[in-house]
Amino acid sequence: EPALIFDLGGKFDKSFNEAAYMGAKRWADETGGTYKELEMQSEAQREQALRRLAETGANPIVMTGFAFGDVLNQVAPDYPDTKFAIIDMVVEQPNVQSVVFTEEQGSYLAGIMAAMASKSGTVGFIGGMDIPLIHKFECGFAQGFKAAKPDGKVLINYTGTTPAAWNDPVKGGELAKAQISQGADVIYAAAGGTGIGILQAAADEGILSVGVDSNQNHLHPGKVLTSMVKRVDNAVYDAFKNGVEPGVKVLDLKAEGVDVAIDDNNKALVTPEMQAAVDEARAKIAGGEIAVHDYMTDNACPVQ
């Protein structure tokens, strides 16, 4: 029986935990199988949860979030017969699969679309807590935007410094309005539950927004330019269905791990040129012609 452990944000975080949950659910619906899922209360439970699951014989055990990395490094060797998969972090153990996404690539595509949809030449990025992972989104987005509009401007905000930063739609909305008043007409929200407020404010003010992680186009049909989807659901689904292959699994653009979502809700917003530009960039990134810089490699972003 497979198992899934969510990070502290919880199953319904409007972000990658929720996406993971969707993947597991899809697997359960399709196969009729059952799985265990755990939500933690505190840091100390990470290890507890992993060990207890391993001891009850769950296999594979999938967990979301970089914060598990350290603990998994300790726990995995004790359960050599159990396979683990960790999302968003590399853990080098013989029974661990590390699934990482190239968020910068997906964000790059979103950046191109934002640049082409923007009339003012100014777009915004709003992140949750100021942590490296979110800078990865920010940097990819900025690169894509600058590639399409070299003299454009990206406004950057982070919501806060406490976990409340992920659940503050009011502040998100206010930050969006602040960016709008500075001329932004497309805003990319990478802030969990806070993003709901950002998308809302953008819709209210009649500008476009970009969703994140799961496809959020439906939240405000015709007002969300696109969503940078990170297919955590696929990763979980795949792990549940096909088992876990130890090693690092990079889910990049080529592997359809990340992408921009285009569906009925935003079709009208995507012009043919935009579609063409995105397709072209996608092909070039896949082919290696465009190398999108990953913030994590040197803690720096080539564009401002």
Binding site: M40, Q41, S42, P132
Partner: protein
């Protein structure tokens, strides 16, 4: 003059209150379509049913003892320290800096060093609000709230930009050297020849917390300084008349309070995570307020209340882990326990008092 025997006040009242809180919790569980009996047995079993459960219960309790004592000491000086959260976070920074920068060969050296770091940083974070209150009259409640936010921001910055190992995704410090890892109670049990609490985070800090309870008790009820703290807390004009310096007492009480909150870090940061992570305190500073108030601002009460909250945390964690009951239910149960044992205790005490008075009258 006492209306009922002491044992009734100390034991009967809280127990009945607890039962009431549990009854209402059961009702809430029923209302969301789950089984109260399953929930209760899961909680009790998971928290108290095995040495494993106890290991976690005591681990959480250790955190709450420190923050509870912190709130308590300040409270005796009539200072309401809401800043335990920030002070404990800063204590974590102190621990991390000590352990990452000093080459400490053994935990027995590392523990006192880390304790000094934790207490110093926690105390330093309480110093400014204390000084502002004593000298400038800015209200300690506001400043400590503000300092919680400021601590979060500072730690955010320090972890992401200064302490994070290069290339790591995780905004956390590197692991502390192996030699500085604190002995877990399970290891100590093994050394004594039996198995207890395998793989639980409870560690030697628990004993430090217990010793802290005793020391705080000595401080408050047996020392001259404690006498001054309590006297100042009860009446500032009287303190002046007696030659007690308000500025000195305010600052000292807050330094001790902040130091105690900071000390929590030897448990969660040094003992459990063995590195400093973002938001390591996880609200224990706020739980400390409830623990101190429910413990009637006495170390023994703090100890018992911390155990109760440790139980709720661990039992609740088990609920979230192994049943489909949402984890938020635990918060509701905690709230009800705080409400009934802490704020509605007179609802139980008043009828009890009447009963005992009537019994005594009949006896006399």
């Amino acid at each position: 003059m006492n209306k009922m025997p002491k044992w009734a006040d100390v034991i009967l009242t809280p127990v009945i209150s607890l039962v009431l809180a549990m009854a209402i919790s059961a009702f809430v569980i029923l209302a969301i379509g789950e089984s109260p009996t399953v929930a209760l047995t899961t909680m009790i079993d998971g928290a108290l049913g095995s040495s494993y459960g106890w290991g976690f219960t005591l681990y959480y309790a250790t955190n709450f003892i420190f923050t509870g004592l912190a709130v308590m000491v300040a409270y005796h000086a009539s200072l309401f320290n809401i800043g335990g959260e920030g002070q404990a976070a800063m204590g974590g920074l102190g621990v991390a800096l000590v352990l990452l920068s000093l080459p400490l060969p053994h935990w027995a050296l590392a523990l006192p060093a880390a304790m000094i770091g934790a207490a110093l940083f926690g105390a330093a974070w309480a110093l400014i609000p204390a000084w502002l209150q004593a000298k400038r009259g800015s209200h300690i409640v506001i400043t400590t709230i503000m300092f919680n936010f400021i601590a979060a921001a500072a730690l955010n910055y320090i972890l992401v930009n200064l302490l994070r190992p290069v290339g790591s995704m995780d905004p956390a410090s590197g692991r502390f050297p192996e030699a500085t890892h604190l002995p877990k109670l399970s290891d100590m049990a093994l050394a004594l020849g039996f198995e207890w609490g395998k793989n639980t985070p409870v560690n030697i800090s628990f004993f430090v917390a217990v010793i802290a309870c005793v020391l705080v008790w000595l401080l408050i009820w047996r020392s001259r300084l404690g006498f001054e703290i309590r006297a100042f807390g009860k009446s500032e004009p009287a303190a002046l008349y007696a030659g007690i310096n308000p500025v000195r007492i305010t600052v000292i009480a807050m330094l001790i309070s902040g130091g105690l909150a900071g000390l929590m870090a030897i448990n969660n940061v040094m003992g459990e995570a063995e590195r400093l992570v973002l938001n390591a305190v996880e609200g224990a500073g706020f739980i400390g307020i409830a623990v101190a108030l429910m413990g009637r601002n006495h170390p023994l009460g703090v100890f018992l209340a911390a155990l109760l909250f440790g139980f709720l945390y661990q039992g609740g964690g088990e609920l979230a882990l192994w049943t489909s009951i949402p984890r938020e239910l635990i918060i509701v149960i905690q709230a009800l326990v705080i409400l009934f044992t802490g704020a509605l205790d007179n609802m139980v005490r008043m009828p009890l008092e009447r009963m005992f008075l009537a019994m005594r009258k009949r006896g006399a």
